[in-house]
């Protein structure tokens, strides 16, 4: 059957390379969605329904128990921003660790690059966390349980910085996991320890000063504080340093991309 005149993988210019790249990423995305969610019941909607359910349960739980004592901060916004952020930086690495082992046979199709596999997975997690965050925000707002953000642009900016952090962490841990099997075993307990420390369940300002200094070494905490500052900043004193986050993001991106590049070289990519 003819391939519209062109040989199956003829090298072309930059435009064609971009076309191939888009095609491959699109195909990988749809493949991921199909293999993870299938076509049964609500199918790919599980992509964001699952994180929404998680966030909703946590939000309800925290709202009911009023976890932060004697504070006037809006508990719904606090829980929504906190748990949505967790989903982002925890699920991206979770999906990228060991991602290659199950996708190795795809490399028989020479237009599929190893990095594409990681990009597809990170993109899907970003979409899942974002849709869940936005939809829940709208629903809770509609139910009058939540005020809209004070500064939407700041929330968006913080959210993107957090996504970048998640992607960099995912690339790095994903790349490391192909080299060291231990990463696969250590990430679940690691993320479990980081969960309470990452700011999902506390405001930095509520901690003693000595503790603040320690937890602020965690880059994602700066993103969470920044997002909350944009959401309900007039109600509390936020602590964040975006330059610190930016530095961490760049470091993780460089280390992640070079690790993946190394795997690619070993697997015969030019």
């Amino acid at each position: 059957m003819p391939n519209d005149g062109a040989p199956a993988d003829a090298p072309g210019g930059l435009t064609q390379a971009w076309q191939v790249q888009r095609r491959v990423l699109g195909a990988l995305l749809l493949r991921e969605m199909l293999t993870r969610y299938g076509r049964n019941n609500i199918g790919f909607m599980w992509l964001f329904v699952e994180p929404m359910l998680f966030t909703l349960v946590i939000t309800a739980l925290w709202s009911a128990t009023r976890q932060i004592h004697g504070s006037s901060i809006p508990i719904t916004a606090f829980a929504l921003t906190g748990y949505s952020s967790i989903l982002m930086w925890r699920n991206m690495p979770g999906r990228c660790i060991g991602a290659l082992k199950s996708n190795m046979p795809l490399l028989y199709h020479r237009q599929v690059k190893i990095l594409d596999v990681y990009i597809a997975r990170v993109t899907l997690e970003f979409a899942a966390a974002t849709i869940s965050f936005v939809l829940l925000g709208l629903i809770l707002w509609g139910a009058e349980l939540l005020q809209p953000p004070e500064d939407s642009i700041q929330v968006l900016w913080g959210w993107l910085m957090l996504a970048w952090f998640g992607a960099g962490l995912a690339f790095t841990l994903g790349g490391l996991s192909e080299r060291f099997d231990l990463v696969d075993k250590l990430w679940p307990p690691m993320s479990y320890i980081l969960f309470p420390l990452s700011g999902a369940a506390f405001l930095v300002d509520a901690l003693p000063r000595s503790a603040q200094e320690i937890v602020l070494y965690l880059p994602m905490l700066h993103a969470v504080e920044y997002i909350r500052d944009g959401y309900f900043g007039s109600q509390f004193i936020a602590h964040h340093d975006l330059d610190y986050l930016l530095g961490a993001n760049m470091l993780l991106s460089v280390s992640g991309l070079s690790l993946i590049r190394q795997i690619g070289l070993e697997a015969g990519e030019q």
Binding site: P7, A27, Y108, H109, E266
Partner: protein
């Protein structure tokens, strides 16, 4: 053209470093049909993987100016929770070709019927091989890698495969790995005999087959 120059492939095993291909140099011209013989583990499939680009050589260079298929009837690339049709759709997407026309072809060719819409995980190995072969025939390549493909299906299906490959695509280059006398003899112009990591070139089938049989330790009868 495909050219392998001084290609060496070594694997680290528990018993130490094992050399599978030792300084191999071969050229495959457009349209050439090359048969490959050798014992199990002699490096035939390794060579196929290196040519396809799924694995790099330890040292040496691989040059490709033709498009090269994935190994024909290769079932490892399927996602078992996706249906046969969805697997085909994925292939069509990454190669940027029309799906519907090819679905019809795969339907007719694979004779899988409604199984095409079931997860590949529930297929028998014969069904998987039939699907893989049919999908392989939907994308056009300059060079086809054929690794033990003849085990696919029954007599009539094998016959269909023969027509698709050796009649409709007889002007394409092919690299055929096989143990089958009948299959190699009629279809190849050249032969490579694998022995201890080295590759010997032969053009006469009867001669190479005799050497192969001697290598296997089977009583030669000429």
């Amino acid at each position: 053209m495909i050219r392998l120059e001084n290609v060496t492939k070594q694997y680290d095993t528990n018993a130490g470093r094992r050399t599978v291909l030792d300084n191999v140099t071969i050229t495959i011209q457009p349209g050439e049909h090359v048969g490959i013989l050798g014992r199990n583990g002699a490096g035939k499939s390794t060579l196929v993987r290196i040519i396809s680009g799924a694995e790099p050589p330890t040292s040496g260079t691989v040059e490709r100016s033709m498009s090269v298929s994935w190994p024909l009837a290769f079932t490892g690339g399927f996602h078992t929770t996706m249906t046969g049709a969805d697997n085909l759709r994925f292939i069509c997407r990454i190669y940027g070709v029309d799906f519907h026309e090819r679905l019809q072809f795969v339907k007719d060719f694979s004779e899988l019927g409604s199984f095409l819409y079931e997860p590949v995980g529930i297929y028998s190995s014969g069904m998987r091989a039939r699907l893989a072969f049919a999908i392989s025939m939907t994308i056009d390549f300059d060079c086809y890698l054929i690794d033990e493909v003849i085990a696919v299906g029954d007599e009539s299906f094998r016959d269909k495969c023969r027509v698709e490959l050796f009649e409709k695509r007889k002007d394409k280059a092919m690299l055929i790995v096989s143990h089958s006398h009948r299959y190699l003899k009629g279809n190849c112009d050249r032969f490579l005999l694998f022995r201890d990591g080295k590759v010997e070139e032969h053009t006469d089938f009867d001669e190479v087959y005799y050497l192969y049989k001697v290598m296997l330790g089977e009583a030669p009868q000429r």
